[in-house]
């Protein structure tokens, strides 16, 4: 059973003074993986500047735009059509004993192979006195612990837009206990990594038809590596396992690796940027 989605992404950028030189790199194109297949891509901008499809430093699809004339305003529109598999939740507990799972997590080979997703980054740094914020119960399996962590994060932070920014650290998030998907995901990843479980930050789109929290922009969630099961997706903003409403674009250590739009713009004065995202579904 497949779902078909159309994702519309728009961004408007206006500048106080004339921009003579700019470079943009978008990381907004859904990847093709076991659960989803990208069918069509449309990309346009208001100045009709040609764009290029490429990959970023981590190998994810990127779209680059380099205007060759001066401007004060530019709009970008992207539209992606995608097939998504209905995901049957595999909640069957791992056949491994808890002891065996622990042995795997503690083995040198495992730590080396998953080194990127076990290390602390500036976005996933917990202060010393916050390291005991949530403790794992090692009489339970890794999967069960992660599920409990997911619920805990969901309850610990209240979803509220505009209380944090893309630069907020976990410290600030923990203090105000409000945030958006990015903050939920960073906290989830930080605690999973503290417990030696590889966790990666995922950027993508959420189909919000079911009344989930996300925003009208891009969404973020986490994937953790559970021995014997592989990568399992958790959406702590909505207290869910990821499902067929989650459309993945890319993953990384934290937001910094996945920023949807990177730009180098040589402009004086103020600038304004706005984004809108729309995810439409059509069951097939």
């Amino acid at each position: 059973m497949y779902l078909e989605y159309t994702i519309n992404y728009c961004t408007n950028n206006t500048y106080e003074s004339l921009v003579k030189s700019a470079f943009w790199q978008f990381l907004i194109q859904p990847e093709t993986n076991e659960t989803q297949e990208l069918i069509a891509v449309e990309f346009k901008n208001s100045l009709n500047i040609p764009h290029e499809f490429s990959i970023n430093g981590y190998g994810f699809n990127s779209i680059r735009v380099t205007p060759k004339k001066a401007f004060k305003e530019i709009h970008f529109y992207a539209s992606f059509t995608l097939k998504k598999k209905e995901i049957a939740l595999d909640l069957i507990e791992s056949k491994l004993t808890i002891e065996r799972e622990m042995n795997i997590l503690n083995s040198l080979y495992f730590k080396v192979d998953f080194e990127s997703f076990l290390k602390t980054t500036s976005y996933t740094q917990l202060q010393n006195n916050d390291r005991n914020l949530y403790l794992f119960d090692w009489s339970l399996s890794v999967l069960k612990n992660l599920q409990n962590l997911n619920s805990w994060v969901f309850n610990y932070i209240k979803f509220k837009a505009n209380t944090t920014t893309v630069n907020s650290t976990l410290d600030e998030v923990i203090t105000i206990k409000h945030g958006v998907c990015q903050d939920f995901t960073h906290l989830f990843c930080a605690i999973a990594r503290l417990n030696k479980i590889p966790a990666r930050y995922v950027s993508g789109y959420l189909h919000q038809g079911n009344g989930y929290f996300g925003d009208s922009q891009m969404h973020a969630w986490a994937e953790t590596y559970v021995p014997s099961k592989g990568w399992v997706g958790f959406d702590p903003t909505n207290n869910l396992f990821t499902n067929s409403n989650h459309i993945k674009v890319c993953h990384g250590k934290d937001y910094k690796d996945c920023a949807p739009l990177k730009g180098v713009v040589f402009a004086l004065g103020k600038n304004k940027t706005s984004h809108t995202v729309q995810v439409l579904s059509q069951q097939q």
Binding site: E52, S54, I55, T66, L108, E115, K262, V264
Partner: protein
């Protein structure tokens, strides 16, 4: 044997505790220096001063200057140059050359491994923290195969001679090692001033560096390119090494470019020229990793080229050195070099490493605690010389304090024997005499596809202040021409 009855050396004072490059322990002039010594001895100190000032003028005239940052008025300075050369005999050189190649190759294999399977870590030879906690380890380089598998195309290896007469490596520089232009300019200046002396020795040329560099860089051209187009990428004229960047571009016969002269289109790199875009295949970049591409690394960089890393990742351009090489010249990696060489090459290291005691290992901690007075103790995680304790400069009370620190947190420290850099007679302006000054030596090694090149010479840096061990040009260091002899 020649006795010291030499006009210009009549007042040369020798400190018996130091290893002198010219005089042996009995005060005799070593064989390789004898000819030079007697030739110089025919002249008075006035002749020497006269020639030295002419040589300096030639540096100014050629524009071989550097800028010292932070001075009240920015002033172009010449790198102080000393007309008395350093001579290395063929037997010693052979060891240095083989040792430098061995080290560069081992570092290259190490870099390949830590950006691919990381077997050296899985096998427990090098701890994982060394890469996971290093700011110079670039995740973007994981799984990326640089053209022909070469990461550190150019290495600058700093070696010293200790008072046991053996060479030791102090540092491997494999980001953007500089100084090679001074090697060549020192030679030019010396030959101009003292051709009559130079002519008495069979010395290897150093002027072939640029052609060898270009040849080897061309062996690692991107796949599918027939005749590669190479450029030198500089941060610009305000960089302290700008002279070198322009010198290398000029002598290689390639364009010198800044980031704004290049652009990326459909993952290929082009240079803007008056005849239109020209594709670029190999970039010898003298811009640091974090600044090469603002879309991938430091977004504030105006020195780089947006999209350059994507072009590199797609294999359409060669960057020399490869991004992310800096992880292998971290201080902590240095201490594992002997193990790294044995692991990848199954060979014993040719050049010595300064022995490092890891206080995390109980037996080594015991040795360190018993010998604090003769060791340098360094915190493993501090950069820039902070927290370093030099054993023979500590009071009894300080030694006890240091021992407490070591016992409380052994993992945090390593210790090394106190190294004594050899000294070389150097003409000192203030006293108008030759005096002993500490020297080191930077060796330049180039790796290409199945080929390597070591510049037969090197940059001998001199600490011009008496007793000082710091040879950096920004710290008042000078340099000497370095002669590698074909035969004695």
């Amino acid at each position: 044997m020649t006795n010291i009855e030499n006009k210009i050396f009549s007042s040369y004072q020798k400190d018996a505790a130091l290893y002198d490059e010219i005089f042996d322990s009995e005060g005799q002039v070593k064989e390789v220096y004898q000819k030079l010594f007697s030739l110089y001895g025919e002249h008075s100190i006035e002749d020497y001063v006269n020639l030295n000032s002419k040589a300096k003028a030639s540096f100014f005239n050629q524009g071989i200057t550097f800028q010292v940052y932070g001075d009240k008025e920015t002033k172009e300075k010449i790198f102080p140059f000393d007309l008395f050369p350093r001579i290395i005999d063929p037997v010693e050189w052979d060891i240095i050359e083989k040792g430098s190649i061995q080290r560069s190759k081992a570092l290259n294999l190490f870099l390949w491994d830590i950006y691919h399977d990381k077997n050296i870590i899985k096998d427990g030879i090098v701890p994982m923290e060394l890469i996971s906690s290093s700011d110079n380890y670039l995740d973007q380089m994981k799984g990326l195969d640089p053209p022909e598998g070469i990461y550190n195309h150019i290495s600058g290896i700093d070696i010293i001679k200790h008072n046991d007469g053996k060479y030791y490596v102090l540092e491997d520089n494999i980001r953007c090692p500089s100084g090679v232009s001074y090697v060549i300019c020192n030679r030019t200046a010396l030959k101009r001033a003292l051709f009559g002396v130079f002519n008495h020795y069979q010395t290897y040329s150093v002027t072939n560096y640029a052609e060898n560099l270009l040849d080897l860089l061309e062996t690692v051209k991107p796949h599918g390119v027939d005749i590669p187009n190479t450029v030198v990428l500089t941060p610009g004229m305000y960089n302290s090494a700008f002279y070198e960047h322009s010198y290398l571009a000029k002598t290689m016969g390639v364009e010198l470019v800044e980031g704004r002269d290049l652009f990326v289109e459909n993952d290929f790199v082009y240079m803007k020229t008056i005849k239109g875009p020209e594709k670029v295949d190999i970039i010898y970049r003298r811009v640091d990793d974090q600044f090469i591409d603002p879309l991938e690394f430091n977004a504030d960089s105006v020195l780089g080229v947006p999209g350059l890393f994507s072009a590199y990742k797609k294999g359409n351009v060669t960057l020399a050195n490869a991004p992310g090489t800096g992880v292998a010249d971290d201080k902590a990696i240095y201490t594992y070099m002997p193990e790294i060489i044995k692991y990848y090459l199954k060979e014993e290291p040719i050049l010595n490493n300064v022995h490092t005691y890891h206080c995390s290992r109980p037996d080594e901690l015991k040795y360190v605690l018993d010998h604090v007075h003769e060791l340098v103790i360094k915190p493993v995680d501090e950069a820039g010389g902070y927290g370093i304790l030099i054993g023979n400069k500590l009071s009894k009370k300080e030694i006890e304090l240091a021992k407490e620190q070591l016992k409380a947190n052994p993992r945090k420290y390593v210790a090394q024997p106190i190294m004594s850099l050899s000294v070389h007679p150097t003409y000192i302006d203030e006293t108008e005499e030759f005096e002993q000054r500490h020297v080191d030596l930077r060796i330049f090694t180039v790796l290409g596809k199945d080929k390597e090149f070591v510049l037969k010479g090197g940059l001998t840096r001199v600490a011009l202040q008496k007793g000082n061990l710091i040879v950096n040009s920004s710290q008042g260091g000078g340099s000497k021409d370095t002669w590698v002899l074909k035969s004695i």
